[in-house]
Symmetry: C2
Subunit: 251 residues, 2 copies
Amino acid sequence: MVKLDDYQSCLVSHLEAYMSLSPNELALLAELERDEVEFDTRGCVQVRNSDAKHLFVVKRGWLFSSIESFDGYRHILQIHHPGDVIGIQNAPFEEATCDISTLDECVLCPFERQALGRIMNEQPRLGALLIAISARDQIVAHDLKRATTRYDAPGRVLLLLLVLLHRLRVTNPSMDDTMRLPLNQYDIGDTLGLTNVTVSKALRALAEDGWIAREASTITLRRIEVAKKRLEFENRYAEIDTSWFPESRGR
Amino acid sequence: MVKLDDYQSCLVSHLEAYMSLSPNELALLAELERDEVEFDTRGCVQVRNSDAKHLFVVKRGWLFSSIESFDGYRHILQIHHPGDVIGIQNAPFEEATCDISTLDECVLCPFERQALGRIMNEQPRLGALLIAISARDQIVAHDLKRATTRYDAPGRVLLLLLVLLHRLRVTNPSMDDTMRLPLNQYDIGDTLGLTNVTVSKALRALAEDGWIAREASTITLRRIEVAKKRLEFENRYAEIDTSWFPESRGR
DNA sequence: CGTAGTGTTGAGATCGATCAAGCGCTGTGG
DNA sequence: CCACAGCGCTTGATCGATCTCAACACTACG
């Protein structure tokens, strides 16, 4: 258990990138982030089929949701960053539909699933935003799925890098084209339906063709605009249409 | 424009499979289904990047959401059945993120995106259920994505058939193991990341191995329980945990 | 100094894509 | 009634991208 009061809430930055929040909404969000739990690198946060009592706000660190088959294969469904809420799309199910693991040292804020119902009841506008962000993440997952069936290995890897960079920029607007990548090549492979071997070769090819520059676990993207066009990349993170949201409640 | 007042609403059957609805909630739903529009077989309902003003309730017929790349490839994201609401996961975006096309003669009920906000405001419990159903469909999409990267062609096709059968049973509880399949082999391929040729061979292999029986566009599944285990199929349609939903509003 | 985790490289095997030809059915027009 | 075109489906041959298997390099760490 660690207290990090000096951190500005990443969740608030994430949400305020799309909509400015009222004091009441901020107060409700603060409740979600009341408890903090620290997790080690490469640790396990949630096990599939266990009782999914909690959702999590990511305060620090990267995580991923995955499913492991009985023959040992792992499929990574989604990658989570600071400012994300994990578990909204699992809300329909009592038991966790996937494993959740850390890629980093992480600080998470667990909160009860009931809180989601309370938000929808008391501050429906905030509820709509959380739902919309979760829906946006699903669209991103669709984009990656399409790449998985349509592009070769280097194309898939490059698209994933583009997606990650644009996601990070939402909560770090000052970022340039360089990012730290805590995923190893097995992780990337399990996200894109490739093996670590193919990922290694794809990264090498991307570097040789001048799409990326690598240095340890840091990656710089080059020729981003060209890459976006080639891969038909759409930045799903740019904006969220809030025009249909219910009105903010005074209290 | 066609009136079909004698139809029991499939949307209501779909929702009541998971939660019984109050008169107020039913009244709000009825408003969504006020307008009816008929579409021809293999027609276009929505074009990507057009103004996504409407969501749709499916009253009759099958549809699919897809994305077409500029090189002509089509990727099918989701298949829609009577009783579905199309467009909830696109709500965050002003412009449609995908095309929507019919597979059948369809009857749809278009409604304004604002209505979703109103439901979340006035009947948050009903809003939560609609969101939960949309989230469930995303989990199903994840299952199919996993199959796409992990299983060979016959495995993918068989999993898709299992998914479709279980979805149809939600709104037709009396169904047996036979269903009409308005998808052609190109459609199946575009859903699973295969070509029509591979789908043809996969269906043939499945029939030879006794997993399915075919007759025109009708398919009967055999040895369903064994297939479920082999493919680690989970029936996401069985139940939705409503325990966290906000309370029903008296008015 | 040994071990575990990660990344690299190469050789052979495999599954699905591609290409191509042909079949059966349906609707249309002569 | 027949000829024809279009569509969906089938089947076979060849090709290529990725997987599998295996060996090895590098680093961190005890």
